[in-house]
């Protein structure tokens, strides 16, 4: 036995040793980065938003740099994975929240956020902001910072003659991928779309959609990936998607189909937190968000449309389709969403 122990001792348990070594190897480069992140004692503006806004390709970094250059402050982003998680985080935190500014809820969530008393009036005069008339914006708490229309995207090389209406899509033999309205905002957009176009006949329309459907995904990225892999003729996305392909990939084959019934709109909004310690700074950021400078950054990073009139954009944006808006008010959406989801669910799972 003594010998056995000696042998074992020689190969002393390598688990801890090696794990610690791995840990040490990666702590080193990261800790050096940590050291530089502690800033000076400038006032900090905590902006709660969603992650694709703050990512390197999103508008976050550029907006931060531009705003910090003249605000004498520090902008600190705190990101959730999407707008819905953002609202939940605020709801959970209540009065304990550290948010000064809430950025990235959409119009379907406005009513809920207001009811929960999470925000305060923005105090800006709407008529001075040069907002696009199509938005018809009257809200005293929330301000829009970009918007877009939901649309079906197709590959012009494979589908040279796209459908021109929802009715034509449902009557066609095309293969469609869309997102689950229970877990994704574009999915919810389609729910609103079908309801706006078909009203009481919505269940019937969903039943027509069913044989067209390849699959329903949890989120936008799975659906879009499947589409790019050639699994479907149409995928639910935004009218602005072709602009990305044109500008970043110089690829013009992906186009949005213009539907004669109109398209539902999604408006992304920002507001000052009710519990903010920096309400003035937050108001300045809101004002900045609607400035010409910021409105030029947002479309080519967040791939949505500017809310301000007369913003100069790359040419790719001129080629986008210009749909009619259809839809419901935030109040109607909040009240009806559950009923609509149930209707969708039973119509497509039979």
């Amino acid at each position: 036995m003594g010998k056995v122990i000696l042998i074992m001792n020689n190969q002393i348990s390598a688990v801890l040793q090696r794990s610690l070594l791995l840990l040490a190897l990666c702590v080193f480069p990261v800790s050096s980065l940590l050291a530089q992140s502690s800033g000076a004692s400038l006032p900090t503006l905590n902006v709660y938003t969603y992650s694709s806004f703050t990512s390197e390709w999103g508008p976050g970094p550029q907006l931060k740099e531009a705003f910090e250059s003249h605000c004498n402050c520090r902008v600190n982003y705190i990101s959730s994975d999407d707008g819905v998680s953002l609202l939940n985080r605020l709801r959970l935190e209540g009065a304990n929240t550290r948010a000064d500014l809430v950025l990235g809820l959409d119009d379907a969530l406005i009513d809920e956020a207001r009811q929960l008393r999470l925000v305060q009036p923005h105090g800006l005069a709407l008529e001075t902001l040069a907002l696009k008339p199509v938005l018809n914006w009257q809200d005293q708490d929330f301000l829009p910072f970009d918007y877009g229309y939901f649309a079906f995207i197709y590959d012009a090389q494979r589908t040279p003659e796209p459908v021109v209406s929802m009715a034509a899509l449902l009557a066609s033999d095309a293969r469609v991928i869309y997102q689950d309205p229970r877990t994704s905002t574009p999915g919810q957009g389609l729910l609103i779309w079908i309801k706006a176009v078909y009203g009481d006949q919505a269940a019937q329309a969903w039943r027509q959609m069913r044989p067209r459907t390849v699959t329903v995904t949890k989120g936008w990225s799975e659906a879009y990936t499947l589409f790019l892999e050639g699994e479907a003729d149409y995928v639910l996305s935004y009218t602005t998607s072709p602009a990305y392909h044109l500008l970043v990939e110089e690829e013009s084959r992906y186009q949005a189909a213009l539907f004669s019934e109109g398209h539902p709109m999604q408006i992304e909004v920002a507001a000052i937190s009710r519990y903010s310690q920096q309400a003035d700074l937050a108001r300045n950021f809101l004002q900045f968000l609607l400035s010409e400078e910021a409105q030029q950054i947002i479309p080519v990073t967040n791939w949505m449309l500017p809310v301000r009139e007369g913003v100069e954009l790359p040419e790719a944006f001129d080629q986008l389709i210009q749909p009619q808006a259809v839809g419901f008010s935030p109040q109607q959406i909040r009240q009806q969403r559950q009923t609509w989801i149930r209707e969708w669910r039973s119509a497509v799972s039979q």
């Binding site: 040793q17 480069p29 990261v30 799975e222 699994e231």
Partner: protein, 525 residues
């Protein structure tokens, strides 16, 4: 008081406390528990389907893994065995974006296997539906089953093989008398485990299911907690899941008994040589499974690399990898230490009550949905703790909790074997407790510990949900970066970053699983 008991109390307190506080926090939130779902026929349909697909997935995964596990354990000349087993672990945590795209590239509408399959199945081939779900679940879980079962097979000591040879036991009789007892202990728990994993599966089921007709209970929980923020409904659903899945798991695990009392030899000793036909059949099967497990990823790689390479944010990727590794290693070590302690207590035959308690503490996190746990703890400590500064502690702790059941169930047989065969012998040496652990226990458990660390590491590297609640943008991890890339149209880059995550995990496993001899030469004394 014994040293293991001193540690046991705080660990038990933390483990049960976390779950209790999380549930408490959610129970106290607004409305009372919502029961209307009982009356919804859709709920029953979902439940039926959840059960059915999980049962089929578990069955296929285990049955298909059995022959391969035997080949891996007994065919000593099999090429690429170590790398294959490592790859197996990666498949088990394959990011869903990669998995879904990979399967689609092979089996989808314009997949390159589809023409063949359409000819094979006269009714026409479609990936979407139960077929796709089963394919994906077998892809995810067969590798786990292979690893567990082949480890079990190779734990049969060479003395037993020799004895069987002397008694001229061959074929089925040898299987029944020698091999089956070694497997019987793990099969029920393994199947139960895979059943549970598939029961909780979500993104894959939605993407490949073809519609909401085929969704799982987890979708309902996700929806209740995330999109409607209705904690009471989420709690009700979590309760149903706890009751059904947990109950079934408990039932299945009870069938399994750890029968094999002889010590595993560690080094491969004498094993019977397989007859030629069996060996070549086995190798053919090995190749087939190898293709199934690697082709979806490999066929993705060229396109992904050509599309994503140039625009991949390398500096961000490096930083995110660093954070991912730190969180994953810390959580893995924590899970490993807790699992070791609990397995130690659970394997003590004299104290049945304690043993059951330890087992419950380790395994119950398998059926408490991670989302319920994270959100509950977040709410509970919100007023006291500034999560902006301390979120990383929760990221590590909750990841450790998620990995714990896996670590525990993998470690328990090894600890059990040690305690039943060496314990008394070692006690007679009268070593001091610390020396006893350092010199005897840890070295003898080393292979199992390395395996478990690898598993934990891979599991925690893939975490997305927990980081989504507690993490901060400046500590961005790899899965989070992939999420950001995918959300910004950079799907090629996202896929490439996913492959990078796999490569990272593969390297980590390779470092951990290097043969002790070589490791001694490099780092040891």
């Amino acid at each position: 008081m014994k040293p293991d008991r001193v540690l046991l109390w705080p660990v038990l307190l933390l483990l049960f406390g976390s779950s209790a506080l999380a549930l408490l926090a959610l129970t106290g939130w607004q409305q009372p528990t919502d029961l209307h779902l009982w009356q919804d026929p859709w709920f029953w349909q979902v439940l039926r389907f959840t059960f059915w697909q999980a049962l089929l997935s578990a069955l296929f995964s285990v049955v298909l893994a059995l022959p391969l596990a035997r080949v891996l354990a007994l065919d000593s000349g099999l090429p690429g065995k170590a790398a294959f087993l490592r790859w197996c672990l990666l498949c088990f945590v394959m990011p869903s974006l990669i998995l879904i795209t990979g399967l689609v590239v092979m089996f989808g509408h314009s997949g390159w296997l589809t023409p063949l399959l359409t000819r094979l199945f006269h009714s026409g081939w479609s990936l979407y539906g139960l077929t796709g779900i089963l394919l994906a679940h077998v892809f995810l879980n067969l590798p786990l089953a292979v690893r567990v079962l082949s480890a079990q097979w190779s734990s049969i000591p060479s003395s037993a093989w020799k004895m069987a040879a002397q008694l001229q036991l061959t074929g089925f009789r040898r299987f029944l008398l020698l091999e089956w007892p070694a497997l019987r202990g793990v099969l029920p728990a393994l199947s139960g485990f895979i059943f549970l994993l598939c029961f909780n599966s979500f993104a894959v089921v939605l993407a490949l299911g073809g519609g909401p007709g085929v969704s799982t209970l987890e979708v309902a929980i996700y929806q209740a907690l995330k999109y409607q923020f209705n904690p009471s409904e989420a709690l009700f659903l979590a309760g149903v899941q706890l009751l059904l899945a947990g109950g079934l798991f408990w039932l299945i695990s009870r069938w399994g008994k750890l029968q094999w009392l002889a010590a595993p030899s560690g080094e491969t000793g004498w094993q019977p040589s397989l007859p030629g036909v069996v060996r070549w059949l086995g190798r053919g099967y090995y190749l087939l499974v190898l293709l199934f497990l690697t082709l979806p990823t490999l066929s993705l790689a060229p396109a992904v690399i050509s599309r994503g390479w140039a625009r991949l944010p390398w500096s961000q990727l490096g930083l995110a990898s660093g954070w991912s590794l730190i969180f994953a290693l810390a959580a893995s070590l924590l899970a490993l230490l807790m699992a070791l302690l609990l397995a130690w207590v659970a394997a003590e035959p004299a104290r049945r009550g304690w043993s059951k308690l330890a087992e419950l503490a380790a395994l119950h996190h398998l059926v408490v949905p991670g989302m319920v746990l994270s959100v509950g703890l977040y709410i509970f400590f919100m007023a006291q703790i500034n999560w902006l500064d301390w979120g990383w502690v929760a990221v590590i702790w909750l990841n450790a909790l998620v990995a714990l059941p896996f670590a525990f169930s993998q470690l328990k047989p090894a600890v059990f074997v040690y305690r039943s065969s060496y314990q008394k012998l070692a006690a007679s040496l009268q070593l001091a407790p610390w020396l006893h652990w350092q010199r005897v226990i840890l070295p003898s458990l080393q292979p199992a510990l390395l395996r478990v660390t690898g598993l934990c590491l891979v599991l925690t590297l893939g975490d997305f949900a927990i980081f989504g609640i507690f993490g901060q943008a400046e500590h961005r991890t790899l899965p989070w970066l992939i999420h950001e890339l995918a959300g910004a149209y950079r799907l090629g880059e996202a896929a490439l970053a996913s492959l990078w995550l796999l490569a990272l995990a593969f390297t980590g496993l390779w470092l951990l699983e290097k043969k002790p001899g070589r490791c001694r030469a490099e780092w040891g004394r």
